[in-house]
Symmetry: C2
Subunit: 249 residues, 2 copies
Amino acid sequence: MADKFTNPQKTPCQQCPLRAIPHFREFTGDELEFVSRFKTGELSVDAGTTVLVEGSHSAHLYTVLTGWAFRYKLLSDGRRQILNYVMPGDLVGLQGSIMGEMQHSIEALSPVTFCVFERDKLGQLFTRYPSLGYDLTWIAAQEERILDEHLLSIGRRTALERAAYLLAFLYERAKAVNLFDNRAVLPITQQHIADTLGLSIVHTNKTLRKLADRKLIRWQDRGCVVLDGAGLATVADWDGLAEGRRPFI
Amino acid sequence: MADKFTNPQKTPCQQCPLRAIPHFREFTGDELEFVSRFKTGELSVDAGTTVLVEGSHSAHLYTVLTGWAFRYKLLSDGRRQILNYVMPGDLVGLQGSIMGEMQHSIEALSPVTFCVFERDKLGQLFTRYPSLGYDLTWIAAQEERILDEHLLSIGRRTALERAAYLLAFLYERAKAVNLFDNRAVLPITQQHIADTLGLSIVHTNKTLRKLADRKLIRWQDRGCVVLDGAGLATVADWDGLAEGRRPFI
DNA sequence: CGCTTAGTTGAGTTCGTTCAACGACTGTGG
DNA sequence: CCACAGTCGTTGAACGAACTCAACTAAGCG
Protein backbone atom coordinates (compact mmCIF):
# COMPACT_ATOMS: atom_id res chain seq x y z
CA MET A 1 0.00 0.00 0.00
CA ALA A 2 1.44 3.29 -1.17
CA ASP A 3 0.25 5.34 1.76
CA LYS A 4 2.03 3.19 4.28
CA PHE A 5 5.47 4.30 5.19
CA THR A 6 7.87 2.32 7.32
CA ASN A 7 10.49 4.40 9.00
CA PRO A 8 13.60 2.55 10.13
CA GLN A 9 14.80 5.63 12.01
CA LYS A 10 12.92 5.08 15.16
CA THR A 11 12.23 7.31 18.11
CA PRO A 12 14.38 5.86 20.91
CA CYS A 13 12.25 4.30 23.63
CA GLN A 14 14.31 6.21 26.16
CA GLN A 15 12.72 9.38 24.78
CA CYS A 16 9.27 7.88 24.23
CA PRO A 17 6.72 10.67 24.70
CA LEU A 18 4.27 8.21 26.24
CA ARG A 19 6.58 7.67 29.20
CA ALA A 20 5.98 11.27 30.25
CA ILE A 21 2.23 10.66 30.64
CA PRO A 22 1.42 9.80 34.26
CA HIS A 23 -1.21 7.30 33.11
CA PHE A 24 1.55 4.90 32.11
CA ARG A 25 3.84 3.09 34.47
CA GLU A 26 7.60 3.49 34.84
CA PHE A 27 10.17 1.23 33.25
CA THR A 28 13.36 0.02 34.84
CA GLY A 29 16.52 0.80 32.90
CA ASP A 30 16.90 -2.85 31.90
CA GLU A 31 13.37 -3.16 30.62
CA LEU A 32 13.70 0.02 28.65
CA GLU A 33 16.91 -1.17 27.10
CA PHE A 34 15.30 -4.46 26.05
CA VAL A 35 12.16 -2.81 24.66
CA SER A 36 14.34 -0.47 22.69
CA ARG A 37 16.04 -3.43 21.01
CA PHE A 38 12.71 -5.22 20.62
CA LYS A 39 11.42 -2.29 18.62
CA THR A 40 12.57 -2.55 15.03
CA GLY A 41 11.02 0.52 13.44
CA GLU A 42 8.04 2.73 13.02
CA LEU A 43 5.04 2.64 10.73
CA SER A 44 3.16 5.79 9.79
CA VAL A 45 -0.14 5.65 7.96
CA ASP A 46 -2.80 8.09 6.80
CA ALA A 47 -6.33 8.23 8.17
CA GLY A 48 -8.44 5.53 6.56
CA THR A 49 -5.59 3.10 5.98
CA THR A 50 -6.17 -0.55 6.81
CA VAL A 51 -3.13 -1.65 8.78
CA LEU A 52 -3.82 -5.27 9.62
CA VAL A 53 -6.21 -7.50 7.74
CA GLU A 54 -8.35 -10.34 9.03
CA GLY A 55 -6.89 -13.63 7.87
CA SER A 56 -3.35 -12.34 7.40
CA HIS A 57 -0.25 -13.68 9.13
CA SER A 58 1.66 -10.73 10.47
CA ALA A 59 5.22 -11.09 11.69
CA HIS A 60 4.85 -7.97 13.80
CA LEU A 61 3.41 -6.55 16.95
CA TYR A 62 2.50 -2.87 17.13
CA THR A 63 2.11 -0.27 19.82
CA VAL A 64 0.33 2.94 18.91
CA LEU A 65 2.60 5.93 19.40
CA THR A 66 0.26 8.64 18.11
CA GLY A 67 -3.24 8.74 16.64
CA TRP A 68 -6.54 6.85 16.73
CA ALA A 69 -7.52 3.56 15.10
CA PHE A 70 -10.13 0.85 15.50
CA ARG A 71 -10.39 -2.93 15.35
CA TYR A 72 -13.27 -4.53 13.44
CA LYS A 73 -14.63 -7.74 11.99
CA LEU A 74 -16.80 -8.31 8.93
CA LEU A 75 -19.44 -10.85 8.02
CA SER A 76 -19.19 -12.23 4.52
CA ASP A 77 -22.03 -10.04 3.27
CA GLY A 78 -20.26 -6.90 4.45
CA ARG A 79 -21.90 -6.20 7.79
CA ARG A 80 -19.25 -4.61 9.99
CA GLN A 81 -18.80 -4.71 13.74
CA ILE A 82 -16.29 -2.37 15.35
CA LEU A 83 -14.82 -4.22 18.34
CA ASN A 84 -12.77 -1.56 20.08
CA TYR A 85 -10.79 1.60 19.55
CA VAL A 86 -7.02 1.86 19.74
CA MET A 87 -5.13 4.81 21.20
CA PRO A 88 -1.53 5.68 22.13
CA GLY A 89 0.00 3.02 24.34
CA ASP A 90 -2.31 0.28 23.06
CA LEU A 91 -0.82 -2.92 21.75
CA VAL A 92 -2.24 -4.50 18.60
CA GLY A 93 -1.43 -7.65 16.71
CA LEU A 94 -0.88 -9.82 19.76
CA GLN A 95 -3.47 -12.32 18.57
CA GLY A 96 -1.76 -12.64 15.24
CA SER A 97 1.66 -12.96 16.83
CA ILE A 98 0.73 -15.47 19.43
CA MET A 99 -1.76 -17.58 17.54
CA GLY A 100 -0.81 -17.21 13.91
CA GLU A 101 -3.67 -15.63 12.10
CA MET A 102 -5.33 -12.26 12.66
CA GLN A 103 -9.04 -12.62 13.28
CA HIS A 104 -9.82 -8.94 12.92
CA SER A 105 -8.69 -5.93 10.90
CA ILE A 106 -7.40 -2.55 12.02
CA GLU A 107 -8.06 0.79 10.34
CA ALA A 108 -6.67 4.22 11.17
CA LEU A 109 -9.12 6.96 12.17
CA SER A 110 -6.48 9.69 12.05
CA PRO A 111 -2.87 9.66 10.89
CA VAL A 112 -1.28 6.99 13.09
CA THR A 113 2.29 6.10 14.01
CA PHE A 114 3.00 2.62 15.31
CA CYS A 115 6.10 1.23 16.97
CA VAL A 116 6.90 -2.06 15.27
CA PHE A 117 8.16 -5.10 17.20
CA GLU A 118 9.42 -8.43 15.92
CA ARG A 119 7.27 -11.37 16.75
CA ASP A 120 10.37 -13.58 16.86
CA LYS A 121 11.69 -11.84 19.93
CA LEU A 122 8.49 -12.41 21.88
CA GLY A 123 9.91 -15.59 23.39
CA GLN A 124 12.97 -13.69 24.59
CA LEU A 125 10.70 -11.14 26.21
CA PHE A 126 9.09 -13.81 28.34
CA THR A 127 12.33 -15.59 29.26
CA ARG A 128 14.54 -12.60 29.91
CA TYR A 129 12.03 -10.02 31.19
CA PRO A 130 9.27 -11.83 33.09
CA SER A 131 7.90 -8.51 34.29
CA LEU A 132 7.23 -7.55 30.68
CA GLY A 133 5.58 -10.91 30.11
CA TYR A 134 3.37 -10.20 33.08
CA ASP A 135 2.54 -6.83 31.54
CA LEU A 136 1.50 -8.47 28.29
CA THR A 137 -0.88 -10.69 30.21
CA TRP A 138 -2.13 -7.62 32.08
CA ILE A 139 -2.79 -5.85 28.80
CA ALA A 140 -4.65 -8.83 27.36
CA ALA A 141 -6.73 -9.17 30.53
CA GLN A 142 -7.57 -5.47 30.43
CA GLU A 143 -8.70 -5.73 26.82
CA GLU A 144 -10.87 -8.65 27.90
CA ARG A 145 -12.49 -6.45 30.55
CA ILE A 146 -13.29 -3.78 28.03
CA LEU A 147 -14.78 -6.30 25.64
CA ASP A 148 -16.90 -7.66 28.50
CA GLU A 149 -18.27 -4.20 29.09
CA HIS A 150 -18.95 -3.67 25.38
CA LEU A 151 -20.77 -6.98 25.26
CA LEU A 152 -22.95 -5.93 28.19
CA SER A 153 -23.60 -2.69 26.40
CA ILE A 154 -24.62 -4.08 23.04
CA GLY A 155 -26.50 -6.97 24.55
CA ARG A 156 -28.46 -5.27 27.28
CA ARG A 157 -28.33 -1.49 27.10
CA THR A 158 -30.90 0.55 25.14
CA ALA A 159 -29.76 2.56 22.13
CA LEU A 160 -29.48 5.75 24.18
CA GLU A 161 -27.55 4.05 26.97
CA ARG A 162 -25.27 2.34 24.48
CA ALA A 163 -24.39 5.56 22.73
CA ALA A 164 -23.82 7.31 26.06
CA TYR A 165 -21.60 4.47 27.26
CA LEU A 166 -19.49 4.44 24.11
CA LEU A 167 -18.89 8.17 24.12
CA ALA A 168 -18.15 8.24 27.86
CA PHE A 169 -15.74 5.35 27.34
CA LEU A 170 -13.91 6.98 24.46
CA TYR A 171 -13.83 10.29 26.27
CA GLU A 172 -12.31 8.78 29.40
CA ARG A 173 -9.75 6.72 27.55
CA ALA A 174 -8.64 9.54 25.31
CA LYS A 175 -8.39 11.94 28.22
CA ALA A 176 -6.13 9.53 30.09
CA VAL A 177 -3.60 9.53 27.26
CA ASN A 178 -3.76 13.28 26.58
CA LEU A 179 -5.41 12.98 23.19
CA PHE A 180 -7.33 16.23 23.64
CA ASP A 181 -5.87 19.70 23.53
CA ASN A 182 -8.50 22.16 24.70
CA ARG A 183 -11.69 20.53 23.42
CA ALA A 184 -12.69 16.89 23.65
CA VAL A 185 -13.27 15.99 19.99
CA LEU A 186 -13.62 12.36 18.97
CA PRO A 187 -12.55 11.94 15.32
CA ILE A 188 -15.27 9.50 14.31
CA THR A 189 -18.27 9.49 12.00
CA GLN A 190 -21.77 8.43 12.93
CA GLN A 191 -21.19 5.38 10.75
CA HIS A 192 -18.40 4.29 13.10
CA ILE A 193 -20.65 4.76 16.09
CA ALA A 194 -23.43 2.82 14.39
CA ASP A 195 -21.06 -0.06 13.59
CA THR A 196 -19.83 -0.09 17.18
CA LEU A 197 -23.26 -0.05 18.75
CA GLY A 198 -24.83 -2.54 16.37
CA LEU A 199 -27.42 0.02 15.21
CA SER A 200 -28.39 1.44 11.84
CA ILE A 201 -26.93 4.77 10.91
CA VAL A 202 -30.34 6.44 10.84
CA HIS A 203 -31.25 5.37 14.32
CA THR A 204 -27.79 6.25 15.55
CA ASN A 205 -28.29 9.74 14.22
CA LYS A 206 -31.61 10.11 16.02
CA THR A 207 -30.13 8.73 19.23
CA LEU A 208 -27.15 11.09 19.12
CA ARG A 209 -29.55 13.95 18.59
CA LYS A 210 -31.20 13.10 21.91
CA LEU A 211 -27.83 13.21 23.65
CA ALA A 212 -27.13 16.53 21.97
CA ASP A 213 -30.53 17.86 23.09
CA ARG A 214 -29.50 17.02 26.65
CA LYS A 215 -26.32 19.08 26.14
CA LEU A 216 -24.11 16.03 26.69
CA ILE A 217 -22.45 16.16 23.27
CA ARG A 218 -22.32 18.34 20.18
CA TRP A 219 -21.65 17.29 16.61
CA GLN A 220 -19.19 19.63 15.00
CA ASP A 221 -16.30 19.74 12.55
CA ARG A 222 -16.76 16.11 11.43
CA GLY A 223 -16.43 14.83 14.94
CA CYS A 224 -18.19 14.43 18.24
CA VAL A 225 -17.49 17.00 20.94
CA VAL A 226 -18.03 15.59 24.42
CA LEU A 227 -19.47 18.30 26.66
CA ASP A 228 -20.25 16.22 29.75
CA GLY A 229 -18.42 12.93 30.16
CA ALA A 230 -19.80 12.28 33.62
CA GLY A 231 -23.33 12.97 32.40
CA LEU A 232 -22.90 10.38 29.65
CA ALA A 233 -21.64 7.83 32.17
CA THR A 234 -24.72 8.47 34.32
CA VAL A 235 -27.09 7.93 31.41
CA ALA A 236 -25.29 4.67 30.65
CA ASP A 237 -25.17 3.39 34.25
CA TRP A 238 -21.43 3.00 33.81
CA ASP A 239 -18.81 3.17 36.53
CA GLY A 240 -15.77 4.14 34.49
CA LEU A 241 -12.61 2.27 33.66
CA ALA A 242 -11.34 1.80 37.21
CA GLU A 243 -7.89 1.21 35.84
CA GLY A 244 -4.87 2.47 37.71
CA ARG A 245 -1.53 3.03 36.15
CA ARG A 246 -1.19 1.13 32.97
CA PRO A 247 1.74 -0.86 31.64
CA PHE A 248 2.71 -0.66 28.00
CA ILE A 249 5.45 -1.96 25.77
CA MET B 1 -21.86 -20.37 51.22
CA ALA B 2 -22.96 -23.73 52.46
CA ASP B 3 -23.01 -25.48 49.12
CA LYS B 4 -19.39 -24.70 48.39
CA PHE B 5 -16.91 -27.28 49.43
CA THR B 6 -13.17 -26.82 49.35
CA ASN B 7 -11.22 -30.01 49.20
CA PRO B 8 -7.62 -29.79 50.29
CA GLN B 9 -6.98 -33.32 49.03
CA LYS B 10 -6.29 -32.49 45.46
CA THR B 11 -6.01 -34.60 42.37
CA PRO B 12 -2.29 -34.56 41.53
CA CYS B 13 -1.64 -32.65 38.31
CA GLN B 14 0.48 -35.60 37.17
CA GLN B 15 -2.74 -37.59 36.94
CA CYS B 16 -4.88 -34.72 35.63
CA PRO B 17 -7.59 -36.24 33.42
CA LEU B 18 -7.41 -33.21 31.12
CA ARG B 19 -3.89 -34.10 30.10
CA ALA B 20 -5.20 -37.21 28.40
CA ILE B 21 -7.39 -35.17 26.04
CA PRO B 22 -5.55 -34.57 22.76
CA HIS B 23 -7.04 -31.08 22.54
CA PHE B 24 -4.65 -29.93 25.26
CA ARG B 25 -0.93 -29.55 24.89
CA GLU B 26 1.77 -31.55 26.68
CA PHE B 27 3.62 -30.38 29.75
CA THR B 28 7.31 -30.83 30.44
CA GLY B 29 8.12 -32.58 33.71
CA ASP B 30 9.34 -29.34 35.23
CA GLU B 31 6.25 -27.40 34.32
CA LEU B 32 4.03 -30.12 35.66
CA GLU B 33 5.92 -30.19 38.90
CA PHE B 34 5.57 -26.43 39.30
CA VAL B 35 1.86 -26.38 38.42
CA SER B 36 1.32 -29.13 40.94
CA ARG B 37 2.81 -26.96 43.67
CA PHE B 38 0.99 -23.89 42.34
CA LYS B 39 -2.30 -25.72 42.84
CA THR B 40 -3.41 -25.45 46.43
CA GLY B 41 -6.67 -27.35 46.43
CA GLU B 42 -9.96 -28.04 44.74
CA LEU B 43 -13.34 -26.38 44.92
CA SER B 44 -16.52 -28.31 44.18
CA VAL B 45 -19.85 -26.54 43.80
CA ASP B 46 -23.42 -27.46 42.90
CA ALA B 47 -25.20 -26.32 39.77
CA GLY B 48 -26.49 -22.78 40.24
CA THR B 49 -23.78 -21.71 42.68
CA THR B 50 -22.20 -18.31 42.18
CA VAL B 51 -18.47 -18.86 42.46
CA LEU B 52 -16.96 -15.43 41.88
CA VAL B 53 -18.81 -12.18 42.36
CA GLU B 54 -18.43 -8.90 40.49
CA GLY B 55 -16.67 -6.39 42.71
CA SER B 56 -14.96 -8.96 44.93
CA HIS B 57 -11.22 -9.28 45.47
CA SER B 58 -10.33 -12.92 45.05
CA ALA B 59 -6.97 -14.25 46.16
CA HIS B 60 -7.33 -17.17 43.80
CA LEU B 61 -7.16 -18.31 40.23
CA TYR B 62 -9.23 -21.25 39.04
CA THR B 63 -9.07 -23.80 36.28
CA VAL B 64 -12.18 -25.82 35.56
CA LEU B 65 -11.54 -29.51 36.04
CA THR B 66 -15.06 -30.82 35.38
CA GLY B 67 -18.43 -29.24 34.56
CA TRP B 68 -19.94 -26.17 32.89
CA ALA B 69 -20.18 -22.59 34.12
CA PHE B 70 -20.67 -19.12 32.69
CA ARG B 71 -19.39 -15.59 33.18
CA TYR B 72 -21.84 -12.68 33.32
CA LYS B 73 -22.30 -9.04 34.17
CA LEU B 74 -25.33 -7.19 35.51
CA LEU B 75 -26.66 -3.68 35.09
CA SER B 76 -27.88 -2.05 38.30
CA ASP B 77 -31.54 -2.67 37.39
CA GLY B 78 -30.93 -6.40 37.00
CA ARG B 79 -30.49 -6.80 33.26
CA ARG B 80 -28.01 -9.64 32.76
CA GLN B 81 -25.52 -10.26 29.97
CA ILE B 82 -23.79 -13.62 29.76
CA LEU B 83 -20.29 -12.99 28.43
CA ASN B 84 -18.96 -16.46 27.81
CA TYR B 85 -19.16 -20.07 28.92
CA VAL B 86 -16.49 -21.89 30.86
CA MET B 87 -15.54 -25.53 30.35
CA PRO B 88 -12.83 -27.95 31.52
CA GLY B 89 -9.37 -26.51 30.96
CA ASP B 90 -10.59 -22.90 31.07
CA LEU B 91 -8.95 -20.47 33.42
CA VAL B 92 -11.09 -18.01 35.37
CA GLY B 93 -10.28 -15.28 37.83
CA LEU B 94 -7.25 -13.97 35.96
CA GLN B 95 -8.71 -10.48 35.81
CA GLY B 96 -9.27 -10.45 39.53
CA SER B 97 -5.81 -11.81 40.22
CA ILE B 98 -3.95 -9.52 37.91
CA MET B 99 -5.90 -6.32 38.34
CA GLY B 100 -7.43 -6.56 41.78
CA GLU B 101 -11.16 -6.53 41.39
CA MET B 102 -13.42 -8.94 39.52
CA GLN B 103 -15.55 -7.15 36.96
CA HIS B 104 -17.84 -10.08 36.31
CA SER B 105 -19.43 -12.98 38.18
CA ILE B 106 -19.30 -16.71 37.54
CA GLU B 107 -22.08 -19.21 38.06
CA ALA B 108 -22.06 -22.98 37.70
CA LEU B 109 -24.39 -24.57 35.13
CA SER B 110 -23.72 -28.09 36.33
CA PRO B 111 -21.80 -29.42 39.32
CA VAL B 112 -18.32 -28.00 38.81
CA THR B 113 -14.88 -28.80 40.22
CA PHE B 114 -12.19 -26.15 40.04
CA CYS B 115 -8.46 -26.42 40.64
CA VAL B 116 -7.50 -23.56 42.95
CA PHE B 117 -4.25 -21.62 42.51
CA GLU B 118 -2.69 -18.98 44.73
CA ARG B 119 -2.53 -15.54 43.26
CA ASP B 120 0.64 -14.87 45.23
CA LYS B 121 2.60 -17.41 43.25
CA LEU B 122 1.67 -15.86 39.92
CA GLY B 123 4.86 -13.77 39.95
CA GLN B 124 6.92 -16.94 40.44
CA LEU B 125 5.17 -18.50 37.48
CA PHE B 126 6.35 -15.72 35.21
CA THR B 127 9.89 -15.58 36.55
CA ARG B 128 10.59 -19.30 36.86
CA TYR B 129 8.47 -20.75 34.05
CA PRO B 130 8.35 -18.24 31.19
CA SER B 131 6.68 -20.82 28.97
CA LEU B 132 3.74 -20.89 31.38
CA GLY B 133 3.65 -17.10 31.38
CA TYR B 134 3.47 -17.24 27.61
CA ASP B 135 0.61 -19.71 27.93
CA LEU B 136 -1.29 -17.34 30.20
CA THR B 137 -0.98 -14.63 27.58
CA TRP B 138 -2.07 -17.14 24.95
CA ILE B 139 -5.14 -17.99 27.00
CA ALA B 140 -6.04 -14.34 27.51
CA ALA B 141 -5.58 -13.60 23.81
CA GLN B 142 -7.76 -16.57 22.90
CA GLU B 143 -10.52 -15.36 25.23
CA GLU B 144 -10.23 -11.99 23.52
CA ARG B 145 -10.79 -13.64 20.15
CA ILE B 146 -13.89 -15.35 21.38
CA LEU B 147 -15.27 -12.14 22.81
CA ASP B 148 -14.59 -10.43 19.49
CA GLU B 149 -16.66 -13.06 17.74
CA HIS B 150 -19.48 -12.74 20.30
CA LEU B 151 -19.46 -8.99 19.81
CA LEU B 152 -19.78 -9.43 16.06
CA SER B 153 -22.60 -11.83 16.70
CA ILE B 154 -24.65 -9.68 19.05
CA GLY B 155 -23.92 -6.51 17.15
CA ARG B 156 -24.48 -7.60 13.58
CA ARG B 157 -26.05 -11.02 13.26
CA THR B 158 -29.82 -11.53 13.11
CA ALA B 159 -31.57 -13.35 15.93
CA LEU B 160 -31.57 -16.63 14.01
CA GLU B 161 -27.90 -16.31 13.07
CA ARG B 162 -26.96 -15.38 16.60
CA ALA B 163 -28.67 -18.39 18.09
CA ALA B 164 -27.11 -20.65 15.47
CA TYR B 165 -23.67 -19.20 16.13
CA LEU B 166 -23.96 -19.62 19.89
CA LEU B 167 -25.08 -23.22 19.71
CA ALA B 168 -22.46 -24.11 17.10
CA PHE B 169 -19.83 -22.45 19.26
CA LEU B 170 -20.84 -24.29 22.43
CA TYR B 171 -21.12 -27.53 20.53
CA GLU B 172 -17.66 -27.25 19.05
CA ARG B 173 -16.01 -26.20 22.31
CA ALA B 174 -17.68 -28.89 24.35
CA LYS B 175 -16.87 -31.55 21.80
CA ALA B 176 -13.18 -30.60 21.90
CA VAL B 177 -12.98 -31.27 25.64
CA ASN B 178 -15.04 -34.46 25.57
CA LEU B 179 -18.01 -33.04 27.43
CA PHE B 180 -20.46 -35.21 25.51
CA ASP B 181 -20.96 -38.94 25.93
CA ASN B 182 -23.17 -40.20 23.15
CA ARG B 183 -25.50 -37.25 22.61
CA ALA B 184 -24.54 -33.57 22.37
CA VAL B 185 -26.66 -32.02 25.13
CA LEU B 186 -25.98 -28.48 26.28
CA PRO B 187 -27.11 -28.07 29.92
CA ILE B 188 -28.61 -24.59 29.55
CA THR B 189 -32.05 -23.02 29.73
CA GLN B 190 -33.57 -20.71 27.15
CA GLN B 191 -33.12 -17.92 29.68
CA HIS B 192 -29.36 -18.45 29.49
CA ILE B 193 -29.46 -18.32 25.73
CA ALA B 194 -31.58 -15.17 25.81
CA ASP B 195 -29.15 -13.48 28.19
CA THR B 196 -26.23 -14.46 25.98
CA LEU B 197 -27.79 -13.28 22.74
CA GLY B 198 -29.21 -10.06 24.13
CA LEU B 199 -32.77 -11.11 23.29
CA SER B 200 -35.96 -11.52 25.31
CA ILE B 201 -36.84 -15.01 26.41
CA VAL B 202 -40.01 -15.06 24.31
CA HIS B 203 -38.24 -14.15 21.13
CA THR B 204 -35.45 -16.58 21.94
CA ASN B 205 -38.01 -19.32 22.23
CA LYS B 206 -39.51 -18.50 18.84
CA THR B 207 -36.06 -18.33 17.28
CA LEU B 208 -34.98 -21.68 18.70
CA ARG B 209 -38.18 -23.15 17.37
CA LYS B 210 -37.13 -22.17 13.86
CA LEU B 211 -33.79 -23.92 14.34
CA ALA B 212 -35.63 -26.98 15.63
CA ASP B 213 -37.98 -26.89 12.59
CA ARG B 214 -34.88 -27.06 10.41
CA LYS B 215 -33.75 -30.16 12.34
CA LEU B 216 -30.59 -28.46 13.57
CA ILE B 217 -31.40 -28.80 17.26
CA ARG B 218 -33.97 -30.38 19.55
CA TRP B 219 -35.08 -29.21 22.98
CA GLN B 220 -35.21 -32.13 25.34
CA ASP B 221 -34.58 -33.12 28.95
CA ARG B 222 -34.02 -29.53 30.14
CA GLY B 223 -31.28 -28.98 27.63
CA CYS B 224 -30.50 -28.34 23.99
CA VAL B 225 -29.55 -31.30 21.84
CA VAL B 226 -27.38 -30.29 18.90
CA LEU B 227 -28.28 -32.41 15.90
CA ASP B 228 -26.22 -30.67 13.24
CA GLY B 229 -23.32 -28.51 14.41
CA ALA B 230 -22.06 -27.85 10.90
CA GLY B 231 -25.55 -26.82 9.80
CA LEU B 232 -25.72 -24.31 12.63
CA ALA B 233 -22.33 -22.89 11.65
CA THR B 234 -23.57 -22.48 8.08
CA VAL B 235 -26.67 -20.59 9.17
CA ALA B 236 -24.46 -18.30 11.26
CA ASP B 237 -21.81 -17.73 8.57
CA TRP B 238 -19.23 -18.85 11.11
CA ASP B 239 -15.90 -20.49 10.37
CA GLY B 240 -15.29 -22.34 13.61
CA LEU B 241 -12.75 -21.85 16.34
CA ALA B 242 -9.64 -22.45 14.23
CA GLU B 243 -7.71 -23.19 17.36
CA GLY B 244 -5.01 -25.79 17.41
CA ARG B 245 -3.78 -27.51 20.49
CA ARG B 246 -4.55 -25.48 23.53
CA PRO B 247 -2.39 -24.75 26.55
CA PHE B 248 -3.85 -24.83 30.04
CA ILE B 249 -2.62 -24.51 33.57
C1' DC C 1 -51.27 -32.86 45.74
C1' DG C 2 -49.97 -28.05 45.22
C1' DC C 3 -45.85 -25.36 44.18
C1' DT C 4 -42.24 -24.05 41.28
C1' DT C 5 -39.57 -23.81 37.12
C1' DA C 6 -39.21 -24.05 32.15
C1' DG C 7 -41.08 -23.89 27.83
C1' DT C 8 -44.90 -22.39 24.44
C1' DT C 9 -48.03 -19.46 22.09
C1' DG C 10 -50.99 -15.32 20.78
C1' DA C 11 -51.95 -10.27 20.72
C1' DG C 12 -50.67 -5.70 20.83
C1' DT C 13 -47.00 -2.32 21.30
C1' DT C 14 -42.42 -0.26 20.90
C1' DC C 15 -38.02 0.22 19.14
C1' DG C 16 -35.18 0.14 15.46
C1' DT C 17 -34.93 -0.58 10.41
C1' DT C 18 -35.25 0.50 5.52
C1' DC C 19 -36.28 3.61 1.94
C1' DA C 20 -36.04 8.00 0.33
C1' DA C 21 -35.06 12.67 -0.14
C1' DC C 22 -32.46 16.68 0.98
C1' DG C 23 -28.84 20.16 2.76
C1' DA C 24 -24.13 21.23 4.05
C1' DC C 25 -19.62 20.78 3.19
C1' DT C 26 -15.09 19.22 0.67
C1' DG C 27 -12.38 18.32 -2.83
C1' DT C 28 -11.49 18.09 -7.85
C1' DG C 29 -11.16 19.22 -12.57
C1' DG C 30 -12.32 22.31 -16.24
C1' DC D 1 -14.21 30.73 -10.74
C1' DC D 2 -17.83 27.48 -11.14
C1' DA D 3 -19.76 22.79 -11.94
C1' DC D 4 -19.75 18.42 -10.23
C1' DA D 5 -19.33 14.38 -7.49
C1' DG D 6 -18.73 12.39 -3.07
C1' DT D 7 -19.21 12.11 1.84
C1' DC D 8 -21.63 13.02 5.93
C1' DG D 9 -25.39 14.37 8.62
C1' DT D 10 -30.57 15.05 8.98
C1' DT D 11 -35.37 14.10 8.73
C1' DG D 12 -40.02 11.87 7.59
C1' DA D 13 -42.75 7.85 6.55
C1' DA D 14 -43.68 3.06 6.37
C1' DC D 15 -42.34 -1.30 7.74
C1' DG D 16 -40.65 -5.15 10.44
C1' DA D 17 -38.16 -7.31 14.19
C1' DA D 18 -38.20 -7.86 18.82
C1' DC D 19 -40.49 -6.59 23.13
C1' DT D 20 -44.03 -6.85 26.85
C1' DC D 21 -48.04 -8.79 28.72
C1' DA D 22 -50.66 -12.57 29.55
C1' DA D 23 -52.34 -17.10 29.63
C1' DC D 24 -51.43 -21.90 29.44
C1' DT D 25 -48.96 -26.67 29.39
C1' DA D 26 -45.64 -29.98 30.98
C1' DA D 27 -42.43 -31.68 34.07
C1' DG D 28 -40.02 -32.13 38.64
C1' DC D 29 -40.33 -32.20 43.54
C1' DG D 30 -41.49 -31.85 48.47
